[in-house]
């Protein structure tokens, strides 16, 4: 980027020139400093919130849920019927800054599910951790509701026309988890091994 373009880009930013990360770091620090001086938050609180969140949320939670559902048909039934109650049995919850509810949708021979939030980036973050950048991108959010099969194909999944594609747009207070199909020849796998077969992308519906 030329110096002229760089100057122009920084026109609206009140701080010295620097990379975007340097500029944003300064702005974030300034904001937290302003909040601290007014007794609204403490920097240590921000750190604590981040650490607690990262400790509790991650894709392994999703893997546990799926592995349990694969291993236990009764649990699978509960998961599909009342996901919040089912995850509570594993000591998990969707604790959040607003009341949200989990719904699990199941891939079968008849249907493949894929999840999006076209309006922002809603995602079961309290369970799985932050969503991947591509999920939050305008490119994914705009295209997956226009041509989901083409998008799935780009992710390496070809869904035949006689298999239904179900697109779930998280427009309100539900968050979705896709229950992938159990791998073939896995009848003798224990839950730990089943967990290893679950990927974060499969929980969104862009992997099998």
């Amino acid at each position: 980027m030329s110096d002229h373009e760089h100057d122009h880009m920084e026109h609206d930013h009140p701080h010295d020139h620097g990379s975007p990360a340097v500029v944003m770091t300064a702005r974030v620090n300034a904001l937290i400093g302003a909040l601290e001086s007014r007794g609204i938050v403490q920097d240590a609180e921000v750190t604590a919130v981040l650490e607690r969140f990262l400790a509790a949320a991650g894709p392994s939670n999703g893997a546990r849920i799926v592995a349990r559902a694969w291993a236990d048909p009764a649990y699978r039934g509960l998961l599909l019927d009342d996901a919040n109650a089912a995850i509570a049995q594993l000591g998990l919850d969707m604790s959040h800054w607003a009341p949200v509810s989990l719904r699990v949708v199941e891939n079968t021979q008849r249907a493949h599910n894929i999840v999006v939030c076209t309006l922002c980036s809603c995602y079961p973050i309290a369970l799985l951790g932050p969503a991947p950048q591509w999920y939050k991108s305008e490119a994914y959010r705009s295209r997956v509701v226009r041509e989901p099969r083409a998008v799935l194909h780009e992710f390496g999944i070809t869904v035949p026309d006689d298999r239904e594609v179900r697109v779930w747009d998280s427009t309100a207070e539900l968050r979705y988890l896709v229950l992938p199909q159990r791998p073939p020849h896995s009848d003798d796998w224990d839950e730990a091994r089943l967990m290893q077969a679950v990927t974060r992308d499969a929980l969104i519906g862009v992997a099998l």
């Binding site: 719904r103 509701v145 026309d161 006689d162 747009d169 427009t171 309100a172 207070e173």
Partner: protein, 95 residues
């Protein structure tokens, strides 16, 4: 609650300039109630800072792909969205 699973509904076609949770691509579209959920405070009102937002039933509505995209819809595709009750009206019997 106004609707039950299986009911035919149509999403509002209104186009407000405030925070609103019916995506453009689903406005004025006919669908079917696929699930009835609990009631939640309406996003529009919460976004405006309303201290007593209306609490309305949330529904999952299923839309056939050909209904959502008049041209070039992919085959055998169903769209789902969660929509507050005031976003929906009963679908016309004739439509």
């Amino acid at each position: 609650m106004r609707f039950a699973v299986g009911d035919a509904v149509r999403t509002s076609g209104r186009d407000p300039d405030h925070h609103y949770r019916v995506p453009r691509y689903l406005r004025g579209k006919r669908g079917r109630i696929e699930a009835v959920h609990a009631a939640f405070p309406l996003a529009d009102a919460r976004a405006a800072g309303d201290p007593s937002p209306p609490v309305e039933t949330l529904y999952t509505v299923a839309f056939a792909g050909g209904e959502v995209w008049a041209e070039g819809a992919e085959p055998n595709t169903v769209y789902h969205a969660e929509l507050w009750e005031s976003y929906l009206v009963p679908a016309d019997a004739a439509s």
